[in-house]
Every structure is written in structure tokens, then in C-alpha cells.
Amino acid sequence: MTAKKLGPYQTLKAEGTYKIGADKPTIAFNRIGKRGVRRYDGYAKASGKALYTRDVLLPGMLYSKVLASPFAHAKILRLDTRQAEAYPGVRTVLRFDDPAIHGRELTGSIAGPTRMAPQSAGWAMLPVKTILGDEAIFEGQMVGVAVCADSEQIAAEALKRVKIEWEQRPILLDQEEALQPEAPILIPGADSNQIIDERELTTKGDVEQGFQEAEQIVEFTARRHAHLWAGAELPCVIANWSGDKLEMWVHEQQPYLSKLILSEQLNIPMNKIQTHSLYQGCSFGERCNPSNWHQNGINVLAVLLARKAGRPVKLVLNRAETFYGESGDVMASHFKVGAKQDGTITAVQMKSVFANYMCTTGVEHLIDNTRISHLRCEGITAHVNKPPAWWCRCEQLPNVFCQTLIFDHVADALGLDPTQVALRNDGCEGHDPSYLSEFKRRHGFPDRDSLRECIEAGRKAIGWEEKWHAPGTRRLPNGRMHGMAFTWSHDWDDTRGTGSAAVMIQNDGSVSIIAQHSDVGVNPWTAYMQIVADELGVPYEDIEINPFDLNVGFALMSPDGSCNLGSNGFVVKKAAQKAKQMLLDLASEKFDRPADALDVKESVVFEKARPENRMPLKEVVKMATPMLNAVGIWTEPPVLAWAWHTHGLWGQALETGRPRMCRQANFIEIEVDTETGEVFVTKVVNVNDVGQAISPETVEGQMYGGTYMGLGRALTEEMVWDPSTGVLLNRNLLDYKYATLLDYPEAECIYLETGLGHGPYGSTGIGENTATMIPGLLGPAVYNAIGQRVDDFPITPHKVLKALGKIKE
């Protein structure tokens, strides 16, 4: 039977859909995987010339600011904006009751059904999820009125002149208290403060049976308090109208999705919106939730204000205003774990109460990378008067927090080396590693034991053999207690994402990658250029990308889920391969040889059988141009090819039968001062199996970079609210403390290349791993040092001293 011939659309789709199996290179690597490739963005960023959204200034531009609620729960009864409107330099004021904004909701049909939806991300208390409403459910929420003025200072002054009569309402700040029967109900019309989530209960096997099989039962509790992404560039947006055309500058990870939502909300045709996304001063997921106030909300406000004012409007947030969300791992958890004497975990039961939003339930990594057969995970979410919670590098925080603590408690109870307990339980969806071996063989992957390799490398680097000891047993000559810990998990790539890009060879032989893409600092463009260079046979230096304009029609997968490279690497690789085919097709005319008899290397096209029969690439393409010319001397169509790729869907990595095969291991060594309770980190070793590194320096950058964020989250980063008023007390980067250069030593970063990733050439993503793995690791490390558990994060000196019995409260 002959296969049905596919039309152009179906062909593209068939070519672009990921097929399970090892992606083996068909070319020799010249730039891929090599050190010393000059970073694409290096000069722009080092010279101060890289433009970020915050930098954009347009002639006649106005500045807009939005009122922040001073109360944690309150409703506006009366709003008097007359003084603000009369303040010199104020150009326009948008009140919540203005018909242009009144009742407009945050969500769009795209965002609605997803987990980004306001319903599921901590807004349950608001009956209507308006962009600009008259009700605040946390202190600092945008509410009531936006003003637009000649300068930021004037806008801020004008806001001070807005007179508001508030009705204050009861507040709750603790998620467990919120579920007590006597707690006031915050959600209108509801009979409890619990937010319904269909992921509340995950079960696998039968935990009771698992507990019976166990020889030891371990029970413990743990807490994680709120922290924040706190990215470098403050959120902002610029909107400018010209007739019915809208031009936007956005600081966002997902500008295409955001354009779609904006178009739906304000009924602006998508083809009339021209979006620029410039360099982005980090993001970590902060700028990737198009359905939130501070992203799509501010876009809508800026667009409406620009229309009203008839001038470009830049809506800017200051640092205090960026504390508008919290991490998705605000949780209080209870664990019961059954294990056999040899370290085999027979059952895990956990129950967690989350605040505002349950990003992940805590059990997903145990499913994805262990052979534990009996799991029961209950996750309840309660609404409290704190900002909405959502993912921030990354939504897996609850999962690895739980995995790290469970494994360490088990190893300790059994008196086993935690690295052995990891190997004993490694697996996939309840199966032992033989299941993975079988899968690897069937799909052309090498049958390597990633976890074992990671652990071996890490143990050696940190000196585990010599230094690891029983808890609370090693005092150092400097008087401090020495502690060590280890944790592990699978790789981070969500193996999802969709993108498109074109590769075009210009008349002079230089090559352009054509596609919008948001850069949040992971050096993606260098990697794409390395891939195109090697696939096309063109020097890296001859490749260029201009990713700042969404109107080029192609858009690469946004940088989230650590699958930036996994998806986009395939996109650019395929586009380059297709462009090469086109080029050889064109060359076949000039060489009078079939295309498959030719090849390209270092920008020279040659006949494979007779390499001396050669022509510089630029000679081949010099007549090929996309432009018309009146004289008509250019007579050949452009060498341009585009490709599309899709790589699974969110959360479908399991359903589509793609087990995770790469592993990672993280090791730490600390000292605890038992007089002050301070924790000093002396060594960190991160080992990641990345399958195949495209840009080694970039891989390492994510590994050491994430270490600082992880350590900050473990030890010092915490949002602190005043318990009586619900006012956030540390809205600045002096009091919200993240790591400086002086706080921690450089991590030792080791990457392994087993080819076990689902990305191009067997690679896998690395963007979020370390920052997510490290925080939980400090619990076991502190325990190993002082012999007392402090599973309450961040682990502050105060808590350490309390655990040591040196202070009471």
C-alpha cells in the first residue's frame, strides 16, 4: 500500500512533530559543543549598548503608574481623582469605573483553560478578576486608578493626591489558619477558603500495602515560606497608537501569546499589533504568565491610556511594586514514608497545604524518576491575603523539596549513605531501571546509567568517601559543626514547546536566522547560530539573528520549561537542513551535477567525489534574492527555508511515552556556627547529565548561576509580612536578601554528556535545575552538621538556634 501523499500543511506538520528516538547527528561538530565560541550578545551587554524595554524612550512619551492598595484586603467605597487630574503635568487618568476598563477581565480564551488562569493562581478571592477593579485582596495590588503624566515623578505625585475611602475587610495570612473552621471566609459566596484544584489527590498503587511491606516508617513535617523571583529589569510596557495600528514594546517571555490575549481583550486585530521584545533583564517565569495583572494587565492599561492620551505611554513599576507575587511552593507538609532496611522505599504519603496556588503537588518527580510503587499525595490550597503564587524558576520547587527531604529522612533513619538510597530507588513511573534500559535500546539511545555516573562524579569531586559522617558528629578546629548533604533528580527539560524560524542565505553568502525570540539570559542565540553553522557548513561568524521583532512572522518557543533549546534547537536545525537542500539544489544547476553529489563546508560548495570542483557559496547565491528589481538582473529565487517543530505538550511527557533518562546530583558542604546559628556554605558540587552540551560555557553558567539563587532561597530569601496588617515589610533589595559575590564560594560544575536527552543531538535543558534543587538540600546539610532537623525554609540563624535549644521563640 502506498502512503497517502500529504499536502503542504500536513507535510510541515509531519516533519515538525517530534518523533521519539535518539537524535543522532548527521554532521561533524565544528562549533557545536566547543568552548570559546564568541557569545552573540556579549559586546552589546558588556558595552551598555544592549537595549531593554525599560530603556525605550519615544518622542512625546508619557509615564504611567497604577495605584497600589495600602491594605491587604479592602474595597474602595469612594474614589475622588479630581486633585490628581488637576495636578500639573498629568495628562490622563483612568479610573476603574471608566467604561473603557470597567469589568474587563484578566483572562482570555487562551489563558482561561490553562493553569495560568487567574482562577487557579490565587485570585479566588476576587469575584471578578478585573484588570483594574475596586477591590484589593493583598497589600500592593493594583487597584482603582492609573494615571499618566509627563514624568514618573509627576505620576507618582498625582497618585498621592487621589482621595479614597476604603472599607477594610478581615485578613488571613497563614494557609493552615485559613482552613480552620473559625476562620473568616474570604471567598465571596464560598463556604471555605479552600481553592478547588483537580490535582488535589494523586495516588498510585496502595500506600497501606506499601507501609505493610516496610520495615521502618518515617514521619516528619516541613515548611517552606514565600520567596520571589526578583528579576533585574523592572516590569514595564510601552504602547503607541497610530490610527488603528498599535506598536508595543514588552518585557515578556511569551510575547506572541500576550499579543493574542491583548487582541482578544481589546478587539484589536493581531495583524495590527506590532510587538518588539528587546533584551530582557531576566525573568525566571515572572514575565511569563500572560494572564496576570503585572503582565497582560499592564499591557491593557498602557494600550487604553495611550489611546486616551493620544501619545505613547510607558507604564513602569518600581522595585517595591514588583513584589506582586510569591513563589509557588508556599507549603506546610506532613510526610509518612515506609522503607525497607536496604533503602528501598515502599510507600510515600504526603499531605501539603499550599498558599494561593499549588504549582505542583510535590509527587511528580517521585513518579518520573523512581521505582516507588505506592504513592499518595494530597495537596490542598487555601486562599490568604498575600499576592498570587505562581512558578518561578521553577514550578518543580515543591516536587524536589519533597523528594530531597523524603530521601534524606529515609537514609538517616536507616543509617544508610544517601547516595546508595538514591541508586536503590532510581527508576521511572514505578519501574526499576531495566525498564529504562529497554526503552533506551528500543529507541536508539545509549544504555548508560545516568544517575550512577552523576553520583560517581559528584562523590569524587566533593570527597564524599572521606568526609561524609553521621549527623552532628564533626566539629571543626574553628569550632563550627561540619555538614554534608546530597540530593538528586531527573533533568529539567519539560520536553514541550512549539516554534518556527527561517534560515535565509543572503546574496553575499552571509546567513540570517529569521524569528522572534525572547532572551532571558540563557545565551540561546549563540547556541542556535552554532547549530545553523554546523548544519549548513558556514562559519559561525557568518550567521546573524535579529530576534527582537515579532512581526517577522516566525517565533521561536519562549524560554520557559527549560526547553528553549530542546524545541528551538530542532527548529533551527531543520530550517538549516532545508536551506542547505535548497542551496544544493540551486548549486546543482551551476555544477551540472545532482544535488546529492554536492556538499558545503566553510562556505564553499564542492563536489563530494571531486572536491577540487568547488565554488564559494557566495558565488552560488549571488543572483538569488527575495527582492524585485526594476532592471531585472536578479533572476533567482531566494535561498530561504523555514521549519516548524513541536515537542510534546505541557505535562504530556509521560502520556506520550517519553521517560526522563538524564539525571543530576547535587552535593553540598557547610559549616554551622552553633553560637550564632549562621550557616556557611563552603563547597557546592553540581553534576548534571545534559545529554549533549551545545555551548559548554552556557551550560555551566546555568549551573553556577542557579546555585546562588538556590542558596539565597535556602538561607536568606523570604517575603515577610506584618502579621497584624498583612503589609509586606521588605519590598526592596536591601531587606529582601539575595546572594552577592561575597556570600558563597564558586560551585564546582560538572556536566556529563550521555546523549540521553530528548532534545537535538541527545541534549536536554538546564535552565532551571540548580536553582530549584539547591534550596531543599540545605535542610539535610544543616541536619548533618548539628544533628537537629530544621526543615523550615529559609533556614535562618534564628531557626538554627531554636533547633539547638539555645533560644525559645
Binding site: R38, R39, D41, G42, Y43, A44, K45, A46, S47, G48, K49, A50, L51, Y52, R54, D55, L57, Q153, A230, G231, A232, E233, L234, Y279, Q280, G281, C282, S283, F284, N318, R319, A320, D519, V520, G521, V522, N523, E697, T698, G701, Y704, G705, G706, T707, Y708, M709, N732, L733, L734, Y738, A739, T740, L741, L742, E746, A747
Partner: protein, 199 residues
């Protein structure tokens, strides 16, 4: 602002009340007719030498140096990160010292000499190339602040130790965690500078 200066919107001569179209004409008049020094600049006017170029401009009393350099002069290398005094991203070199542009009032910077990352790059300072080589940037938002701070260090200490580099850069925040690369990049640039100097 200079002591005793007054707003003189019409450019009136304070000695004979003659009116002039421009401030420059008034200055010439005062020097030639009244044989005195030219007048102090009117209130709100400052002169800044930025990356070797002189800018005379009128500023509002509440404007920060950041606003003037970034928004008025268009030098985008001064970056607003923490917003006020916590991160070092807005660092510029003023009369040889690294200072925070977000914490300085422009009106108090009259007559100062300022260097920004753009000026450092235009002058082909080896810091820029060594920063690129060592991947001393991720999102890059903090990078110009680190470069200016490092340049000020090397200006006064051409042969710093690792500890001295870390100490100098200890006040600069980087959320992406590029920290370990900075001492490497700065020390390499210092060596290049010394080698260039000894040629």
C-alpha cells in the same frame, strides 16, 4: 547649583539690565563691558563631561543623575535594577570614583567628569573583551554596572588580588548569578592592561 545664582529667564545683565537673546551673548557682554568674570550658570543649569563630551543642560532639582544620563543623554548603559541604592547596576565613574547614579541628584553634579560603560567600551578597555570571553553576563542587565565598578578599581589599583576584586564588586547584585566569572574577567583584563602598558 552655584551659590547665589538666580533664575534669569530673560538673560538680563545684573549690572546694567540690558537684555540678551541668549545666555552666551549675555556672557560675552558681561566680560567685555563690565570687565568681570562670566556669570555663574542660572539656577538649574549644570555642565557634565560624560565620556569626554561636555553637556550643558537644565535639570529639575529632583532629577537623579540616572535620569539625566539615561533619559536625557540616551546612554542606556546606566541601568535601573533595584531602584534605589541596593544593586550597583546604575554605577558610573565620577571623578575617578564609582558612584550610584540612582542615588545622586543631577543638580549636585555640576562640573563633574563621568564615565559610563559606553565610554569604557568605546575606549576599547580590555575589560569588555575579557567580560565577553568569560561569559560574564547572562541577561546582561547588571553587566554595565559591574564593568564600571571594575574599571574604577583598575584605575586606582592596576594589579588587584582576587580578594580585592571581590571586595570591589561585592556591592553589585546579579540575579542570574554570574558572580564567579567577574574576578576571572577582571584579573585577565588587569593583566592585559599591564602588558599593554609595558610595551
Amino acid at each position: 547649583m552655584k551659590e547665589g545664582s538666580k533664575a534669569t529667564p530673560l538673560n538680563l545683565c545684573p549690572y546694567c539690565t540690558a537684555a540678551f537673546d541668549t545666555f552666551e551673548e549675555l556672557k560675552t557682554h558681561v566680560v567685555s563691558v563690565h570687565k568681570t568674570e562670566p556669570l555663574p550658570k542660572p539656577a538649574g543649569w549644570i555642565a557634565l563631561t560624560v565620556n569626554g563630551q561636555v553637556h550643558e543642560l537644565k535639570v529639575e532639582p529632583e532629577w537623579t543623575l540616572y535620569q539625566v544620563i539615561h533619559d536625557r543623554l540616551g546612554l542606556m548603559g546606566v541601568k535601573m535594577f533595584c531602584d534605589r541604592g541596593a544593586c550597583g547596576s546604575c554605577t558610573v565613574i565620577m571623578d575617578g570614583r564609582p558612584i550610584l547614579a540612582c542615588m545622586s541628584l543631577a543638580i549636585e553634579c555640576d562640573g563633574k567628569h563621568i564615565q559610563t560603560a559606553e565610554g569604557i567600551a568605546e575606549a576599547k578597555h580590555p575589560l569588555v573583551e575579557s567580560y565577553i570571553k568569560h561569559h560574564t553576563m547572562q541577561c546582561g542587565y547588571c553587566t554595565p554596572g559591574f564593568i564600571t565598578t571594575a574599571k574604577a578599581l583598575l584605575d586606582r589599583n592596576p594589579d588587584p588580588t582576587v580578594e580585592e576584586v571581590m571586595e570591589a564588586l561585592g556591592g553589585n547584585l546579579c540575579r542570574c548569578g554570574t558572580y564567579p566569572q567577574h574576578p576571572k574577567a577582571v584579573l585577565e583584563a588587569a593583566q592585559t592592561l599591564r602588558e599593554e602598558g609595558s610595551k
